[in-house]
């Protein structure tokens, strides 16, 4: 009896895991199947022609990376600062900290179209940045900040108090405990928050259509409008008849890009961590 239910349980969790993996593989397979034919080196390095039906995605790739860079450049320092403040400088049960955490959780669940409208009103119109890569990146930063702050904060709070006490007992300042001990220990959580953010940002369309726009020319500066990959895919599959294979190829590029960025982030943090452990 016991072993039977045990076996059923084991079987079902394996089944669930297999199902999840299968769904992803099927998606990837489908993308590769339809997109491979269209994918080539020239697809990556040439301008789109005929509304994207032919030609490539070079300017779109560049815009995507620029938007992402702006978003991360704004979100990482702000987010880390906020997480440190929440985890280290507010009382865990204090009213202020609690209300800020609650608002961040609410913000994290807000549909991206709302961020798009906000970004348009605030960055494009109010700050006068117009439809630009800067507006798009900053809007994305707003969108990924809540989840980035909350995961980083959770990571910091999970670091054992023993180290804080040990460090204090050695007469170390709070700042150096943070830098030398707590942040490296919380790094996995911070990186995880960052990857969730990057994933969300690169997959974003709704927030970008109203902020960075959909001009598919090569951007010359951050104040130019630029079309992100996800916007391009949306446009090709919804508005452009005969754009399907280009859409598939672009989606494949997008997935590979996300995998690359995440692996890169992991490798970087690994190197940083080993350096923290041994560097002098």
């Amino acid at each position: 009896m016991h072993t039977l239910s045990d076996r059923a349980f084991t079987l079902s969790i394996w089944g669930a895991a297999a199902l999840g993996a299968a769904a992803f593989l099927w998606l990837l397979g489908d993308l590769a199947w339809h997109g491979m034919a269209h994918l080539s080196w020239s697809f990556l390095v040439s301008e789109p022609l005929n509304a994207g039906r032919s030609g490539g995605i070079a300017p779109i790739l560049v815009s995507t990376l620029l938007i992402l860079a702006v978003a991360l450049a704004a979100a990482i320092p702000l987010g880390l600062g906020a997480a440190i403040w929440l985890a280290e400088y507010t009382r865990r049960s204090g009213a202020l900290g609690r209300s800020i955490r609650l608002s961040l959780d609410v913000l994290a669940g807000i549909p991206s179209i709302v961020f798009g409208l906000f970004g348009n009103a605030f960055f494009c119109v109010f700050l006068g940045l117009g439809f630009s890569i800067l507006s798009g990146g900053l809007t994305l930063a707003c969108m990924i900040l809540p989840i980035f702050i909350r995961t980083s904060e959770a990571g910091l709070s999970a670091v054992s108090d023993d180290w804080r006490h040990n460090a204090a007992a050695l007469g170390m300042t709070r700042a150096s405990v943070l830098w030398h001990v707590l942040l490296p220990a919380a790094a996995p959580a911070v990186i995880c928050g960052l990857m969730l953010g990057i994933g969300r940002a690169t997959a974003e369309t709704a927030a970008l259509i109203f902020t960075s726009g959909y001009v598919d020319r090569m951007p010359e500066s951050l104040s130019d409008s630029g079309r992100a990959l996800a916007v391009h895919i949306y446009d090709l599959s919804m508005n452009v008849t005969g754009g399907d294979s280009a859409a598939y190829a672009s989606a494949l590029v997008l997935i590979v890009l996300i995998v690359f960025i995440n692996t890169g982030a992991l490798a970087l943090s690994d190197r940083w961590l080993t350096r923290r452990i041994t560097a002098t």
Partner: protein
């Protein structure tokens, strides 16, 4: 708990030592008067007064929860890190009023080091663990660092064991080695007082013996206050002993005196019952 007999004295000062251990000086190093500690509204230690003698080993014994750890953390102001902790009374250390809110905590904690019950090296390399507190206190010269690190590791008998792997993670060491590393980390700052909170309780008898010998070697150079539940250990290594007990869930100092007297000729019935193993 209804205990007949007179209330114990609250202030203990012992005159010159005639038969005491040679390493001790009969000079008060820490003068503790009417010390009381409360967490929120719960007083856990009340009206404790005693002198800690310079260069001596003072053992603190008593049942669980009577406030021994709290007492130690009041002496290096680690209580500041605990929300709601309040410390009253006075602690004088070499002309410094330890409980003065304006006291320089970094300097105080450098002079009064602490070893915790659970070995807690930072998640860094062995070398970095020792280097970090030194750098924090402005010691940056490479040769000086090397020299101090080696000296501290030799002192705790760890040098031969780790000299070839100074750059490997400290958390890979065994529990006993980790605790000795923590002691080295405290000693490397050359403190004048060392607070030890059950430093051997997480160790096997052999490692525990190594640490015990080490503490005995410190006698004369450092003032040591050690909390221990191991009465035999207290008896072996301590010059003075203080016995704490809970009355109506408030910790009180019942008896303080030369270790031998406390164990062999206790003045108070509670002490006598505790050291003979009848209570606690």
């Amino acid at each position: 708990m209804n205990m007949p007999g007179p209330e114990p004295l609250v202030t203990y000062t012992i005159g010159g030592i005639e038969s005491g251990p040679p390493c001790c000086e009969p000079v008060p190093h820490l003068r503790i008067a009417n010390l009381s500690i409360a967490y929120g509204s719960a007083t856990v230690l009340d009206n404790m007064s005693l002198d800690i003698y310079k260069g001596c080993i003072t053992a603190l014994i008593g049942p669980s929860g009577c406030g021994k750890t709290s007492f130690l953390t009041a002496l290096n102001r680690l209580t500041d890190l605990i929300p709601g902790a309040k410390v009253g009374g006075s602690v004088q250390f070499e002309g410094i009023d330890v409980l003065d809110p304006n006291v320089d905590l970094l300097v105080l904690r450098r002079r009064i080091g602490m070893i915790f019950q659970k070995p807690n090296p930072f998640p860094l390399s062995i070398r970095r663990n020792l280097e970090l507190p030194l750098r924090e206190h402005g010691i940056r010269h490479r040769d000086v660092l090397e020299y101090k690190i080696e000296t501290a590791l030799r002192e705790v008998g760890l040098w031969e064991e780790v000299r070839d792997r100074l750059d490997s993670p400290a958390l890979a060491l065994s529990g006993g080695q980790q605790q000795r590393l923590c002691i080295a980390r405290a000693l490397v700052l050359e403190p004048e007082v060392l607070l030890m909170d059950e430093p051997c309780s997480a160790l096997d008898p052999i490692s525990s013996g190594v640490v015990e010998e080490l503490i005995q070697r410190l006698c004369g150079r450092l003032t040591v206050i050690i909390v221990t539940h191991n009465l035999a250990q207290a008896r072996r290594i301590a010059n003075y002993a203080a016995f704490l007990w809970m009355k109506e869930s408030v910790g009180k100092l019942i008896e303080f005196g030369q270790c031998r007297n406390l164990f062999e000729a206790p003045k108070h019935e509670l002490t006598s019952a505790y050291v003979s193993g009848a209570t606690g």
